[in-house]
């Protein structure tokens, strides 16, 4: 956090000054470790086991926050007796189909919902040919999946052997300190320190927060890492409370906004799913897959959100008669995510590509595959501040040097359009804490530089002009689109007008034309519009709430009048859980929102994330669904049963609970189960994306070390916003690898000399940083050496102030099945002293390694690990 979010880290330092204990768990000793009270090196890719060890400690030593767990989580809920845990099946849960590599999740369901889950869940519906599921965990960003109803059976004594709590106990019993040491390389006494610190600082009086970044998400089991932390936090009662939570430190100014208002293939704004081809033939069918009338919570109003979105997009043209234009939406039927698209490019299935402030030639895994893919395009549009490597791959990219590509043979037509900087346009970023902040335009963009707002509005205008007379059905969505925005400063669309459209309006009635104040005002009859229901309220009362800048010193510590947080300016989600079931704060020290008996409403430091007049004692009539179905002690108002899910009966594609699997490329055998890696991972086994063997396959000793990638404070991701800045470039001018003195001795690496790092994909060269900050770990009786590579440099383009080989070139592409995020935080490599071969010698050098390891396109592609003969 100190490394990549230094200014956010001020609050950690402040907490430390006030007595907080800071623990840092990371393969790499970073700037955070330097000021932490406790630093634990851990083997890259082993965190599920580490977190499992903590969960085991909590459960074994009865350290959980019982009242919170019983009242606010699904610990008491009874699960189907058909469910079989991974322990029983060698690392697979019940329902696995080895042919498709996917689970039938029916057996994971709550008791009594098995059939419904199979019929109603989009997860199942999405398991359709071609083999890869097209859905994404992002769709569930705001909630769990649908339940047919909320009538679950609960055993609040937590004794029923099929209740979630007992399943957890059994599931985590094997995550002993010894097992954690064997997998993670963390000695038991170290683990004990963490367990003691975390549990001692949780409960009524205290809270513990977990902070993570892409070190957790970029794995083929990334979602389950976060689930592991969620289980800890729920068991300890640290969700919905000040100082608690699981905090994703997002690495880009509006990466949160990019999922809220997604430019993601499987999402419409505000976590409404993209319609799927086979199951969503009309609006009603689509909505039925999102929610059932019988379930609890605010997702039951998805019809109002969706219709308002369609009204925002198609305006007058969206009517009750045409399903509000639902049929105009394109459909998805497979994984259309970034890496799949790259593979399709290689197969000449994609003609044109827009890169909008993104530099995949450096920033995406397996950079060579990215660049090769782009050479198959007919045309490429790059919009950026600088001439990045992705724009110039055809000119002087690494493959030109090796002779794998020749400039004059590349048919890709490239348009580089210079972009406007943040100071040259109005608009909002949504930061990591869901806060929308308006940035004001300071100056006009220079020369041909334009905002994306400008580019896309005018591109749309040109397209509409060209198709003006078209009667083709496919052109109607564009021609009928509400595409009329007021202009400012000449021909720049007014960003405020766009934000107003996002907020939504009353379209008829007394308040026609007025901004919606809240998403609860949305209607499913077409009388309201709104482009992103969770953002509704950002223009409440016609005021741009995101532009509010009341100085922090002039308001409370929650600072509600600075910017605007979704939803409804609530700064901590699910904050009803900061009070006990009776509505009283768990402790005065941790009071946040509470029930005011006299006023008959919830109140506190923040805006209650709960129906404000619903008493804690309220219990709904049986059978009532939706918001009214939420009891007064159901804080998790977006969940179909009002409870937080320790166990996910649906919604995840790789298991209802986290299980330790080894990274796809690992030096060791899975100590926990015969199953080596996540069996549901998404793979692209092909020549351009080879995988090195892992045990039990032979040949893994050719790539004996673990390599991981990371950022440095001085640079920003693929360098597009830092390697062109002299002040940043001079602070970290060269690509380097961090190795321990022990590994340096083993391989003859010299500090400040060169090293070549080679994986199944390619080899890169880096300056050597021999440092005690890298610790060899002893895991499972053997020493594991880890090599760290900051990934900010790239080759090609020529205009960057500093350049160097790109760390991402050595990483491969295998994806988490839920969210299609790549496994780029742990791979297998070798390291040798000296510079890498250049020119055609480089591919030959890489090929020689592959030959020694016996690598083919099918290496690592077996989903279910063949069972070895027992000893």
């Amino acid at each position: 956090m100190a490394e990549c979010h230094p200014v956010g880290f001020q609050w950690v330092m402040e907490a430390k000054a006030r007595g907080a204990t800071i623990i840092h768990v990371d393969p790499r000793f970073t700037r955070t470790s330097a000021v932490a009270d406790l630093y634990l090196p851990v083997r890259a890719g082993s965190d599920i086991a580490f977190l499992g060890g903590i969960i085991n400690y909590i459960l074994t030593n009865e350290k959980y926050f019982r009242e919170y767990v019983v009242s606010y989580t699904n610990a008491a809920t009874i699960v189907s007796e058909d469910f079989q845990d991974a322990d029983q099946l060698g690392g697979l849960f019940s329902g696995f189909d080895p042919k498709t590599g996917t689970y039938d999740t029916t057996s994971w369901a709550y008791e009594g919902m098995e059939t419904a889950a199979a019929a109603g869940s989009r997860v199942v519906a999405r398991r359709e040919p071609p083999a890869q599921p097209g859905g994404s965990g992002h769709e569930f960003g705001g909630r769990g999946t649908a339940l047919p109803h909320s009538e679950v059976r609960r055993d609040e004594t937590l004794q029923d052997p099929f209740c979630v709590f007992q399943i957890l106990r059994r599931h985590y019993a094997r995550y002993t300190p010894e097992m954690v040491e064997r997998i993670c390389g963390v000695p038991p006494e170290q683990l004990a320190k963490v367990c003691e610190a975390v549990t001692a600082n949780s409960g009524r009086e205290r809270t513990t927060a977990w902070v993570y970044s892409v070190g957790w998400t970029q794995h083929s089991v990334g979602v389950q890492y976060i689930r592991g932390a969620a289980i800890i936090q729920l068991l300890l009662g640290n969700i919905g409370r000040p100082g608690g939570g699981i905090l994703a430190l997002r690495g880009h100014a509006s990466i949160q906004g990019s999922t809220d208002i997604p430019t993601l293939f499987d999402l419409l704004p505000a976590y409404l799913p993209m319609p799927s081809a086979s199951s969503n033939s009309n609006l009603a069918g689509y909505l039925a897959a999102i929610k059932s009338e019988g379930q609890k919570g605010f997702w039951t109003a998805a019809d109002t959100y969706m219709v308002s979105l369609l009204k925002a997009w198609w305006g007058e043209a969206a009517t009750q008669d045409n399903d509000f234009g639902f049929d105009w939406l394109p459909r998805i039927n497979a994984d259309h995510s970034n890496y799949q698209t790259i593979v399709n490019m290689l197969d000449d299935k994609v003609e044109g590509y827009f890169l909008l402030g993104q530099n995949p030639a450096v920033g995406s895994s397996n950079g060579k595959m990215q660049r090769l893919a782009m050479s198959h395009l007919k045309w490429l549009v790059v919009r950026d501040l600088n001439l990045i490597e992705s724009a110039a791959f055809w000119k002087d990219g690494p493959e030109i040097a090796t002779g794998e590509m020749h400039t004059e043979d590349i048919g890709t037509e490239v348009f580089f359009l210079p972009a406007a900087a943040h100071t040259e346009k109005d608009g909002t970023f949504t930061q990591t804490q869901r806060l929308l902040q308006w940035h004001h335009k300071a100056v006009d963009p220079p020369g041909d530089c334009r905002s994306e707002l400008h580019f896309f509005f005018h591109l749309g205008r040109l397209l509409r002009e060209r198709l003006e007379t078209s009667a083709l059905a496919r052109d109607q969505p564009l021609l009928r689109l509400a595409w009329d925005y007021p202009m400012v400063d000449g021909d720049e669309p007014d960003a405020a007008a766009v934000l107003q459209e996002i907020n939504g309006r009353h379209l008829s009635g007394d308040r026609a034309g007025q901004m919606l104040r809240s998403f609860v005002e949305m209607k499913a009859d077409g009388s309201t519009s709104g482009g992103c229901w969770i953002y509704t309220g950002v223009y409440s009362d016609g005021v741009n709430q995101s532009a509010r800048r009341k100085p922090g010193s002039q308001q409370s510590w929650v600072a509600p009048e600075w910017g605007w947080a979704w939803p409804m300016n609530r700064r901590i989600l699910y904050n009803r859980a900061s009070a006990d079931p009776d509505g009283k704060p768990w402790s005065q020290r941790k009071a946040y929102v509470w029930w005011d008996e006299v006023a008959g409403s919830w109140t506190g430091h923040d805006i209650p994330d709960f129906q404000v007049n619903k008493a804690p004692s309220f219990r709904p009539e049986p059978g009532v669904g939706g918001p009214d179905g939420l009891a007064g002690d159901d804080p998790f108002i977006m969940q179909a049963d009002g409870k937080a899910w320790l166990y996910a009966p649906s919604g995840l594609l790789d298991g209802p609970l986290p299980v330790h699997y080894e990274p796809l490329e690992s030096p060791v055998r899975n100590a926990m189960h015969p199953q080596q890696a996540n069996p549901t991972r998404e793979m692209f086994p092909r020549r351009e994306n080879l995988t090195s063997p892992s045990p039990p396959e032979p040949g893994s000793d050719v790539y004996p070390y673990v390599v991981t990638t990371y950022r440095l404070t001085e640079h920003h991701t693929a360098g597009g916003m830092s390697r062109w800045s002299p002040y940043l470039a001079e602070l970290q001018p060269e690509f380097f690898c961090e190795v321990s003195p022990e590994l340096a001795a083993e391989r003859g690496l010299e500090h400040l000399g060169w090293a070549t790092i080679v994986t199944a994909r390619t080899a890169v060269e880096a300056r050597v940083m021999v440092t005690d900050r890298v610790t060899p770990l002893v895991a499972g009786g053997r020493t594991i050496h880890q090599i760290g590579l900051p990934y900010h440099w790239g080759v090609g383009g020529g205009s960057a102030i500093v350049s160097g080989d790109s760390a991402n070139d050595v990483m491969g592409v295998a994806l988490d099945p839920n969210v299609h995020i790549q496994d780029s935080k742990a791979a297998a490599c070798d390291i040798q002293p000296g510079r890498r071969p250049t020119g055609p010698a480089l591919p030959r050098y890489v090929e020689e390694y592959r030959r020694r390891a016996g690598i083919t396109a099918e290496t690592g592609a077996t989903r279910v690990t063949p069972r070895e003969e027992g000893p």
Binding site: A2, P6, V7, F9, Q10, M13, A17, F29, R31, T32, S33, A34, V35, A36, L38, Y39, L40, P41, Q190, L712, T713, E714, P726, Y727, L728, A729, E730, L731, Q732, P733, E734, F736, P741, E750, H751, L752, R767, M769, V770, T771, D772, R773, T775, I801, V802
Partner: protein
Amino acid sequence: MHGWSTAADPARDTGWSEAPARKGFFTDGSVCIGCKACEVACKEWNGIPEDGLQMLGMSYDNTGGLGASTWRHVAFIEQPRRPVGAGSLTPLPLVAATHGQEAGGDPGSGFKPDYSASAGASSGPQDTAAGSAETGIRWLMSSDVCKHCTHAACLDVCPTGALMRTEFGTVVVQDDVCNGCGYCIPACPFGVIDRREGPAGARNVGIAQKCTLCYDRLRDGMSPACAQACPTQSIQYGDLDELRARANHRVEELHAAGVADARLYGADPDDGIGGAGAFFLLLDEPEVYGLPPDPVVTTRDLPAMWRTAAIAGATLLAGAAAAFVKARS
């Protein structure tokens, strides 16, 4: 030549009758996270050119040290896994230069640590604020800057009056006056100030440059750029008296927390420079951070030097006269 009193008021001593309280920096190395925001904010505000794109291998420090185009410099010191309790009392970090080797020399060549040399070196407590007792590693970071000495050698020796004491008690170079004689450079006991030698076309090439404590910003009541940027308040700006009190309190706090290594550097008005306007909280000996352990302003000895010069001059005159005694052969 100097009033060597403890109550030095450098602004009033230099003609500022209406001087505000003396301003300074307290740089607290125990909370520095080495982000280098200070380096960049300083360069950005002061329009300082980029000065070197070479990896130095000194942990994460590719800046090297203070100079004409580096007015803030974050030092990174990696202190490796060490046996507890062995040997002498002074920690010998990885970065020890061994006895008798050639001068430290060309920074451009980068630093190569000698692991064999550091073996067997010992250490004080392993468990400190800025370290992990678990791995035995300490990664010290601290942002260095001009000390704005109470008795400033650079200021004393400047022949043009380019160096000037401001009303805030700080020491600045007047860019329009300096002729680049370079005398201030060897005069500084900390090696702070330097002459900007390039790049061609950059501002102020050929003249002495160093931290101004953002004299222009101070004039408008603003904080210096580095202090404003510093994410963890490792760099604190304010009235020197108050900063000293705060720093003493911080040291007590750290000592109470078991961080025995914490000590102030440059905060003592009785030291060889009369106390620094920019002082530090360090977690190891000053030289570990590249700071002199006991700096003394060279002009403290200037009266003695002038006396010697007078004797020497007289000797010469007398000798010359003697040479002519009965010189006509």
